[in-house]
């Protein structure tokens, strides 16, 4: 009897010691954890929360300035929204710059159209179609996408979403943006562009400067006017292109070179150029001869940018 009691007593003692040992181990880990949490952790977490809030705030601010929410998210994902907002603020504060919300909308559209991974835009459109309209941020986007019932499109979307949410721009490279395109061209500058381009191409259009009238006089004024207007429109279009990264004077030179090649190089009549040639990326073909069967006799005019070296096609 006494032996059994002693055995039970030893077992109870061992249990208590084991329990105390476990509790001590847990307490030690918990204390170390709490020490880190109170000294460093809470501050670090608050910092991370702040970064998340700032990101959402930037997107909201961009929307208030006229950016499309999708475009703002793309810019944020690229890590360039903050710098864009700073520059837009400067443009907005400067009355000489004619900041235009219409042009902001245009840039937003261009940003979304130029997302390199088109599926990412699809993912976002998908989310917005599903009702994402307010306080959009990465996690909300994910939530909305996952509320979808179409698993195949959702799976595609999710893979893209994982590339969106970084405020450091992982997964998306920044794109150069032409913020001058956010402003309207004032009439004085527009007139200056017309003068510059006219003086650049007039010699190739048979124009002579008349000091008397202080303007160029052309042999074929109708065709010359059409060509000059097209050139001016082309330059204006370039200036408002959200991704244009160059100087307007370079575009003026490009226009001059093209007209010189068409008139002096290929000897194409002004009327034909005026009727059929378009600057930019949508070239029109000029049929010098009416014989469609014989390609050798046809002269096709394209802007320099659209010319592909046929010998190098294999390497493209």
């Amino acid at each position: 009897m006494g032996r059994n009691l002693r055995l039970l007593g030893n077992l109870a003692k061992a249990y208590v010691e084991d329990k105390e040992e476990k509790e001590a181990a847990v307490a030690e880990i918990n204390n170390a954890k709490r020490q880190w949490l109170f000294k460093v952790g809470v501050e670090k977490i608050a910092q991370r929360k702040k970064v998340m809030k700032e990101s959402s705030a930037r997107i909201s601010r961009a929307v208030r300035l006229g950016f499309d929410k999708n475009a703002a998210i793309v810019l944020e994902a690229r890590g360039q929204l903050e710098s864009v907002l700073t520059r837009v603020d400067k443009l907005k504060d400067n009355p000489d710059k004619n900041y235009s919300r219409k042009n902001v909308t245009k840039m937003s559209k261009a940003i979304l159209e130029n997302v390199p991974e088109e599926k990412m835009a699809q993912a976002m459109n998908y989310a917005f179609d599903l009702g994402a309209q307010e306080s959009m941020d990465g996690s909300k986007l994910i939530d909305i996408i996952f509320s979808a019932t179409d698993e195949a499109s959702m799976a595609e979307a999710v893979d893209q979403v994982t590339n969106i949410s970084s405020s450091r721009g992982d997964g998306l490279d920044p794109v150069p943006l032409n913020l001058a395109g956010l402003t309207e061209l004032d009439p004085v500058k527009a007139e200056q562009i017309r003068k510059n381009v006219t003086s650049r191409i007039a010699p190739f259009l048979g124009g002579q400067f008349s000091a008397e009238s202080d303007q160029y006089v052309f042999d074929d004024p109708g065709s010359a006017a059409v060509i000059v207007n097209k050139a001016v429109d082309y330059i204006k279009e370039k200036r408002s292109d959200p991704f244009f990264q160059g100087d307007i004077s370079d575009v003026t030179s490009e226009v001059g070179d093209v007209i010189e090649e068409l008139t002096r190089g290929q000897g194409i009549p002004l009327a034909t150029i005026a009727d059929t040639f378009e600057f930019g990326t949508n070239p029109s073909e000029i049929q010098v001869n009416d014989d469609d069967e014989n390609d050798d006799l046809n002269t096709t005019i394209k802007p320099p940018s659209s010319i592909i070296d046929m010998n190098n096609l294999a390497t493209q």
């Binding site: 918990n30 170390a32 709490r34 949490l37 996952f146």
Partner: protein, 186 residues
């Protein structure tokens, strides 16, 4: 789809006991396993990443299952031990999130979404957390999240029972104990 699976007998072409989970686990005592996970998740390098990920919206259930699945895959403990200790690890992560004032989730929504969707959602949140970790803070914590991503793709997403098995009840009680002494006054 059928052709994606292993061919009959393919498993015999691999060296037996080569995978960590084919060997006897390192820890056979559930209490020791709980302490192993507590120690690991309390490591400051890992704890910050775990808490950030909970803040981004990864539910505690998924964090728990991922930690347990990784340990099984690495041969630390068996699946049976995972089943025993899951409620304790869940409780530990939950208590830690509360102490850190994290706005955590227990699970995704009302359980109406499929497991496949849950996995993808969890993977997306884990990846987001990794991506938003500044380069200078890339450490054992981000490695842990990477391993969670791998584990999440195949892990079980069954609900974790709230009742604590008797084998680990002492440790579970100790986890819930409030701090004593000076720290409790902060």
């Amino acid at each position: 789809m059928i052709l994606d699976g292993p061919i009959p007998g393919q498993s015999l072409t691999k060296t037996p006991r080569n995978a960590l989970y084919e060997r006897p686990p390192e820890i056979a005592d559930p209490n020791e396993a709980v302490l192993y996970h507590m120690q690991r998740l309390s490591d400051p390098e890992r704890l910050d990443n775990l808490l950030y990920t909970l803040e981004y919206g990864l539910p505690i259930k998924h964090a728990t299952q991922a930690a347990l699945t990784v340990a099984v895959a690495r041969g630390i403990h068996s699946i049976d031990i995972s089943l025993i200790i899951a409620p304790v690890i869940h409780s530990f992560i939950k208590t830690t999130a509360e102490e850190a004032d994290i706005d955590y989730k227990e699970d995704f929504g009302d359980g109406s979404i499929s497991e496949e969707v849950e996995r993808k959602k969890a993977v997306a949140l884990l990846k987001r957390s990794i991506k938003e970790t500044p380069e200078e803070e890339m450490d054992a914590g981000t490695d842990m999240l990477e391993s969670f991503v791998e584990a999440t793709r195949d892990m079980s997403l069954e609900d974790i029972p709230s009742s604590i098995p008797e084998e680990v009840s002492d440790v579970a009680e100790a986890i819930k104990e409030k701090p004593r002494g000076l720290m409790s006054k902060g």
